[in-house]
């Protein structure tokens, strides 16, 4: 079983961080995985994306060109990647920031008002983690148990105080 995930949005939305979190969770589950960011000037405020592959077998190409799971946090990303998703794949849309609906009819679509939910729980920068909570719920790509252990890996000790709010964001997404 191999799941190819593409996460895309604006720089600053925590797209790379969200991918990293999934990667660490997969590592803790003894899965094979790769995480590949887009890099360069576009990261400074332009669009950012990252490819995450989680598998039971060694990962081939780390580049996700046909995602099984697409997570989009802005309209340009939906426009760019919607058609790339494999038939039967899943698209997760931050419906606070993306007003249009997904055109494809051969995929499963989840609309999550992630940015609004993040504001509701007083964590305006954590729409990314709300999306990830929902993705875990709907795809089962990694189990949700011991999710806090993966947070320990990605949230540095210096910012330990942020762990709780990250956890809350994940939970909000997972139970949405």
């Amino acid at each position: 079983m191999t799941t190819q995930i593409l996460i895309a949005g604006f720089g600053g939305q925590g797209v790379l961080f969200a991918g990293k979190f999934l990667a660490y969770k997969a590592l803790l589950e003894n899965k094979q995985l790769s995480w590949l960011p887009s890099y360069g000037p576009e990261m400074r405020g332009g669009t950012a994306n990252c490819s995450v592959i989680i598998s039971d077998e060694p990962v081939g190409s780390p580049i996700v060109s046909k995602p099984d799971v697409l997570i989009v946090m802005n309209l340009p990303s939906l426009d760019k990647y919607e058609d790339a998703v494999v038939p039967g794949g899943k698209i997760f849309v931050d419906s606070t920031l993306i007003e249009r609906k997904v055109n494809r009819t051969d995929v499963e679509v989840h609309y999550i008002p992630a940015t609004k939910l993040a504001n509701d729980i007083n964590a305006p920068t954590l729409a990314n983690m709300i999306m990830i909570g929902k993705v875990i719920k709907e795809t089962g790509v990694v189990p949700y148990d011991n999710i806090d252990k993966a947070l320990d890996k990605v949230v540095s000790a210096r910012k330990a105080a942020l762990k709780e709010i990250n956890f809350k964001a994940l939970d909000t997404g997972y139970n949405n």
Partner: protein, 354 residues
């Protein structure tokens, strides 16, 4: 067994180098290898005897490497394509003075300033010399973050063993991606280096680190002797990996990120009943000539998959003695071939009789 950790390829090289006993790093900022220098800048000051120095130029950095290598200690520099071009003078001197050192090239698209996206277009530069004069580097090409670490340690060992510079030829993808990696926990055995300059302590004749020989007979002799050593490297140190090659009719040859992509295509081809296989050179100098020659006896076409306008393809053609067609499947300038593109090449090569 050591715990698996998630690391970027660039960071894995840095940590593996430190664990291999390399306590001297000299570099100059350039994308996409910056994480490597940043890691060194953070770690080296915390290690006894550790040196991180941001040099004034790539040229200065490689000459600092030359200085430390002269003292017999493990030393490295890293850069990306345009910066590695600048280092060529120093690399030629290091090779000419028979010094071990590690040069890392996290390649980006060229020529000129080019771009910052991944590329493999420094293959010629890495394997055919790069600088002036007759010399070679041992060139290792990692295809995973684990190999970024493993081949770093190996590069230092081989460089010491054969008294020659080694290069880790990676690309932007390998440098930027994260994968689980297991790092070595034991320090490698270091070999004696009686040739090193360390001060005579008034106990021996002075050692001289030098590449100047004004008498042509002498210079010729050093060249011949060096190539005897290179022959040993070619005999003992060829490394490659074969995948599905036993009964392959179509042979794909690719290294680094191109090999990762090609593997997907080979899997797809096999699913569709095409007997495709993959040879992944791990050393590109020395080049796995025998594996290619063998493939040429039972494959009807060899496809070179490269992130360049076709450079390795020349070595493949030579190694296969042109017994079968050798074709190119490529992207350039920072683009990466997709598994589909490679699969299409395989399908085309297979023709009607799949």
């Amino acid at each position: 067994m050591a715990e698996k950790v998630l690391m970027k390829g660039n960071e894995a090289i840095a940590e593996a180098a430190i664990r291999a006993g390399c306590l001297h790093y000299f570099g100059y900022p350039i994308t996409p290898q910056t994480e490597l220098a940043a890691y060194m800048a953070k770690r080296m000051p915390k290690i006894e005897g550790g040196v991180f120095l941001q040099a004034e130029s790539e040229i200065a950095a490689i000459n600092m490497v030359y200085g430390v290598a002269s003292t017999g200690k493990r030393v490295m520099t890293s850069s990306s394509s345009p910066g590695v071009s600048l280092k060529q003078e120093g690399i030629s001197y290091i090779a000419g003075a028979d010094l071990p050192a590690l040069i890392v090239n996290v390649q980006r698209g060229g020529p000129g300033l080019g771009g910052i996206q991944p590329s493999q277009s420094d293959y010629f530069q890495a394997t055919k010399g790069g600088g002036h004069g007759d010399y070679h580097l041992i060139v290792l090409t990692p295809a995973s973050v684990q190999e970024m670490a493993d081949l770093t340690g190996l590069a230092f060992d081989l460089a010491d063993k054969y008294r020659m510079p080694a290069m880790l030829l990676a690309d932007g993808t390998m440098g930027q991606m994260m994968e689980p990696v297991e790092l070595p926990e034991t320090a490698p055995e270091m070999i004696e280096k009686p040739w090193a300059v360390t001060g005579t302590k008034m106990q021996r004749k002075h050692n001289i680190i030098n590449s100047l020989y004004l008498v042509p007979e002498e210079l010729e002799k050093t060249n011949f002797e060096r190539y005897e050593r290179y022959a040993q490297v070619e005999k003992n140190e060829v490394r490659y990996e074969e995948y599905m090659m036993d009964d392959a009719e179509i042979c794909v040859v690719a290294f680094g990120i191109a090999a990762r992509v090609s593997r997907n295509a080979v899997v797809e081809a096999r699913k569709q009943g095409i007997k495709a296989g993959l040879i992944r050179p791990i050393t590109i100098w020395p080049f796995p000539k025998e594996a290619i020659a063998k493939a040429a006896t039972h494959c009807k076409e060899i496809i070179s998959v490269e992130l360049s306008m076709g450079q390795m393809i020349e070595d493949i053609a030579l190694a296969s003695e042109c017994r079968v067609p050798v074709t190119l499947c490529n992207r350039a300038g920072g683009m990466i071939p997709s598994p589909d593109q490679v699969f299409d090449s395989i399908k085309k090569a297979a023709g009607g009789n799949k």
